[in-house]
Each structure stands twice: as structure tokens, then as C-alpha cells.
């Protein structure tokens, strides 16, 4: 038994806090049903359409199986934000920090619980989505992607990682802004609104910026195809991870300075 409070003791507490809230369970159920359910539905629709047209379209088997991830991004962003903003909204942050005053370790323990939970759930669900999509595609005789192909394996397995990184962006925003509505608003603007606005700009302006946007980076991580303006999947992962680490680190600096 250790001689003082530690990252381990705080992580254990954060895990109890996470699993003892019904809202955590509901969020996970929403996440799984959106990803798997919408993935299956979209694959079904596109595969059927493709089959009806007799194959004169291009078909990206992974893009349709993992289509649910687009919606999942917002669920994990909100989940990440709420980990912090929930503490502020209920003022339980004061009770938490009175019990565990080492603030950096407190944040890291929350990050550990969020990352581990979403990595396990995320990976499980992208592979399930992949297999369901594969079955649908096979039944319509449309092109399928095999996991024995390294690129396919990477695209699918990065799906869970993508969600973890986006949840950390949400978490970082929650840590900095402290209010659920503000954190979610910024998250949606950055992920959804900003790319649309950038697309409206002349492409010589928009495109160089667009490739650095989290939405494009996360998409780049899970795509089999790649256009000239997008970074490669590994670079996308690294850049997005740097954003997440940067934002959370900045949040930790402020968190250590501010009153609880």
C-alpha cells in the first residue's frame, strides 16, 4: 500500500465515478448504436444502390461500414467535455479536489479512464461495424475490403483511436471552458462548421488550412482512399494526437492556476 495518495488511487476513484453514473452507460449505448447501427444502415443503402446501378459507381467498402463514426465523433466529444464540465456544473469539483488536491494527477486520472474506456469500446465497435458491413456487402456482391490487407486493417483499427483523440479534444475544451454548452459549441464549430466555411472559400485559400482541421485529420485516419490535400493516415494520427495533448496540457496549466 502506498504512503500517500497517488495517480493509481485517483484513477480508481475516477473509474468508480464513471461507472456509477447512468449517463455514462447511456452515452456508451448511444455511441455503440450510432456507430454500428448507422454503419450497417448506410452500408445497406449504398450497397443496394450500387448493386441496382450495376456497379457503374465507385464504391468504398470501408467508408460505408465506418460511416457511423462521423456521428460518433460528436458523441465522444460531448462525453469528453462532460467529464470536466459535469464537475463544474454540480460543483462537485470542490469535493473532488478537497479529497485529491494534486491537480495534474487528478486530470491525468480522468484522461486515463476516458482513454481506456473509449479505446476498448471504440475498437470493439469499429471491428463489429466492419464485419457487419462486410456481410452486407458480400450479400449484394459489391466490392469488399479484407482485413488481411494492411491498409484496410489500419483504416479500421484507427477508427477507435480517432474517437479517443476527439474525446480528448472535447475533454480539453471542457477543462478550459468549464461549461458544457460552451465546450460543445466550440467542438461543433471546429469539427463541423469551420470545414464547411473553409470549403466555401476559394480552394487555394481553404485547402491548405482544411488539411489541418481535426475533421479532415480524423477522416484521413480511417480512409482507404486519399486525395492530394490530405495528410497520410499516420501523419493525421500524429497531428491530431498533438492537438489533443496540446489542448489538454494547456488545460492543465490553467487548471493548476485557477480557483476551483
Amino acid at each position: 500500500m502506498s504512503s500517500s495518495i497517488s495517480l493509481a488511487s485517483s484513477t480508481k476513484a475516477e473509474w468508480i465515478k464513471f461507472r456509477s453514473l447512468r449517463s455514462s452507460i447511456y452515452s456508451l449505448i448511444t455511441l455503440i448504436s450510432l456507430t454500428v447501427g448507422l454503419g450497417a444502415l448506410i452500408t445497406f443503402a449504398i450497397a443496394k444502390h450500387y448493386a441496382d446501378r450495376g456497379g457503374d459507381l465507385t464504391y468504398d467498402p470501408i467508408a460505408s461500414s465506418l460511416a457511423g463514426l462521423f456521428f460518433a465523433q460528436f458523441v465522444v466529444g460531448v462525453m469528453g467535455a462532460i467529464v470536466m464540465t459535469g464537475e463544474y456544473a454540480t460543483t462537485s469539483i470542490r469535493t473532488s479536489l478537497a479529497a485529491f488536491p494534486r491537480r495534474t494527477e487528478f486530470i491525468i486520472s480522468k484522461v486515463v479512464v476516458l482513454v481506456v474506456t473509449l479505446l476498448i469500446v471504440g475498437e470493439a465497435m469499429v471491428f463489429v461495424s466492419y464485419f457487419i458491413g462486410h456481410m452486407i456487402e458480400a450479400s449484394y456482391n459489391v466490392p469488399t475490403a479484407s482485413l488481411s490487407n494492411a491498409a484496410t486493417w489500419r483504416a479500421v483499427s484507427f477508427g477507435g483511436v480517432e474517437l479517443v483523440l476527439l474525446s480528448l479534444l472535447g475533454f480539453g475544451l471542457g477543462l478550459l471552458l468549464r461549461r458544457t454548452a460552451a465546450a460543445i459549441a466550440v467542438f461543433v464549430v471546429v469539427l463541423l462548421v469551420a470545414p464547411i466555411l473553409l470549403n466555401i472559400l476559394p480552394s487555394s485559400w481553404g485547402e491548405p488550412i482544411l488539411r489541418w482541421m481535426p475533421s479532415n485529420l480524423s477522416q484521413g485516419m480511417i480512409s482507404l482512399t486519399r486525395d492530394a490535400h490530405t495528410f497520410g493516415p499516420w501523419n493525421c494520427l500524429i497531428i491530431l494526437a498533438l492537438y489533443a495533448i496540446g489542448l489538454v496540457s494547456l488545460g492543465i496549466v490553467f487548471f493548476n492556476r485557477r480557483d476551483a
Binding site: 495518495i5 476513484a13 453514473l21 479536489l97 478537497a98
Partner: protein, 307 residues
């Protein structure tokens, strides 16, 4: 021992705590008194390392709160009974707190039992009544069996039965040799609970000492009845006392003792029918002490305000 040294906290344009220097002694209940907005909660938050002092320092047995090895085993605090997630059950709330400080699970059931919440331990804390919430907060403070306990306005919003329970509970804790630091904006509350008091107003220390000294130091008034009330009143005024005529035969003399009034009557050959010292109540003393520093004047102290 909790030591505050020149403790000061300034928010944007308010000085919430102003150069406060006090030691909070072990083994007694210390009442922390002041009108609403006088800086009690801010002081409590600084003791717990939640708010950072603008200047000055707070130490617990010479250490910063953040440097305590197991904070909950050294200091237990109830700063706000609502400072928990309403969706979590009482037991899970306490289990998570216990985990942070490596406190065994069975202690959670023990404290639930102590505060009488065992039966509702698995209910959502958000559905608790104010009194139950307060008990849950106290259970959290007791988790680590700490020697030092802080309670910020623990009786706010409690019914009389709850107030009596809390009062007896605190006395019990102090009798076990613990340091109990309790804030209140009601002097009457402290009169029954505290041994020592620290009175603040607008963030500044007004008075510190034994609660008994506080009442003794208060200058009271004297009620006197006499068939020659007019003549007596004139004589007393001449002797420099404040005289208020209650009716034709009775007067209230402020700032005087019954001996002084009796002597003046004797010197002037005036018969007295009654001579009663009016002891200032603790509440009066408190009002007098903090009169200059009340932030929100008006109808306070007529009812127990919930903040």
C-alpha cells in the same frame, strides 16, 4: 492546528478576506462567525487549497493542504452539501471519495451508519432532502476519521431536529479531541456549539476568543421602575447614562450596570420598585460587533437565510 497568516483573497473588485491572521486550536469547537458575505466560505476554500490566496498563507500542521499525504485522513470538510453529482448514489459517491485516499470500503458503510443513511445508501443523492444531503456531506467529512473537521454553515436549511443532531454531533467530535471549525452567520447557533469564536466582518478579523468572554464583555442595559421615574431619569442623564422612558414609571438605562443605577437613585433619595439588569444576548453582541461590516442590511437575522 490550522494557521492563517495574513490571509487575503481579492476577487475582481471585492476583498473577500482581508489580512486574516488566526490559529484554530485543536480539541475544541471553534465557531467562525460573520454576516453573509463576510468571507467565511472563501476562507474555508483557501484552507482546503481550492482557492489560491492573493497573499498570505494557510497551513495545516505546518503543511500546505496539497502536500498532505492523505488529505481526507487529516482534514474532513463539508463546504457545500450539494457539491456532489446528483445522479450518483450516496454509497458510490462515498466509495469514490474513499478510493482517492485508500480508505477501505467498510469505512463507507460505517460512516453511512453513523449519519443514519444506511437505508438510503443506494438511492440517488440528488433525490435526498436537504437534511439528508447535509448528513451525506458529514459522512464524507468523517470518511478518513480525520483529526480536523471543517463545516461551512452546516445547519443552513435544516429543521430543528436536524440542527439538534448536528450540534450534539459536533460536541461529540470535539470531546474526542478533534479540531472542529464551524462557520455560521447566526450567533445563537454558535452559543450552543462552540467553545471559541472567531468573528469576522467584511473579511477582517473583528474578535477572537472564548465565547463566554464575548458575552461578559458586552455592556448591557438596566430596567428600572420607580414612582419618581422623571426625577430619576433626569439624575441618570446628568450622570451621563442613556435613558429611555418606557412609560410613566419605567425606564431603560443603556450602558449602565444595576449598581450604578442603584447608587444614583440612593444619592437622589429616589425609591425604586424594580432594578433589573438586561443581559445582552449573544445575538445582540454579534450584531453590535458586526454592525459596521454588514454587507446586506435589511431583514437579515429575522429568519434563517439559506445563503
Amino acid at each position: 492546528m490550522i494557521q492563517l497568516k495574513n490571509l487575503t483573497k481579492r476577487y475582481d473588485n471585492v476583498v473577500a478576506v482581508n489580512d486574516l491572521t488566526v490559529d484554530i486550536q485543536p480539541g475544541v469547537v471553534t465557531g467562525f462567525l460573520g454576516p453573509n458575505g463576510s468571507g467565511k466560505s472563501t476562507t474555508m476554500r483557501m484552507i482546503l487549497g481550492l482557492d489560491r490566496p492573493t497573499s498570505g498563507s494557510v497551513t495545516i500542521d505546518g503543511k500546505n493542504y496539497a502536500d498532505l499525504k492523505f488529505p481526507l485522513r487529516e482534514v474532513g470538510a463539508l463546504i457545500d452539501a450539494k457539491a456532489l453529482h446528483p445522479g450518483r448514489s450516496a454509497r458510490n459517491h462515498l466509495l469514490s471519495l474513499a478510493a482517492t485516499n485508500n480508505i477501505p470500503k467498510k469505512r463507507v458503510d460505517e460512516v453511512l451508519d453513523i449519519v443514519g443513511l444506511s437505508k438510503v445508501a443506494r438511492k440517488r443523492a440528488g433525490d435526498f432532502s436537504l437534511g439528508m444531503g447535509q448528513r451525506l456531506g458529514i459522512a464524507g467529512a468523517l470518511l478518513g476519521d480525520p483529526q480536523i473537521l471543517l463545516f461551512d454553515e452546516p445547519v443552513n436549511g435544516l429543521d430543528p431536529e436536524g440542527i439538534r443532531w448536528v450540534r450534539e454531533f459536533f460536541r461529540g467530535l470535539a470531546s474526542e479531541g478533534r479540531t472542529v471549525f464551524v462557520s455560521s452567520h447566526l450567533m445563537s447557533e454558535m452559543a450552543l456549539t462552540a467553545d471559541d469564536v472567531i468573528v469576522i466582518g467584511r473579511g477582517k478579523l473583528i474578535r477572537q476568543g472564548k465565547i463566554t468572554d464575548l458575552t461578559e464583555s458586552a455592556v448591557g442595559s438596566v430596567l428600572v421602575r420607580s414612582p419618581q421615574a422623571d426625577a430619576l431619569g433626569a439624575a441618570l442623564r446628568q450622570a451621563g447614562f442613556q435613558v429611555t422612558a418606557d412609560n410613566e414609571t419605567s425606564l431603560t438605562i443603556g450602558g449602565a450596570t444595576s449598581e450604578q443605577v442603584g447608587d444614583v437613585a440612593h444619592e437622589n433619595n429616589i425609591a425604586l420598585h424594580e432594578l433589573t439588569p438586561q443581559r445582552a444576548s449573544l445575538e445582540d453582541v454579534f450584531m453590535e460587533l458586526t454592525a459596521d461590516s454588514v454587507e446586506y442590511s435589511g431583514s437579515q437575522h429575522t429568519t434563517e437565510e439559506t445563503k
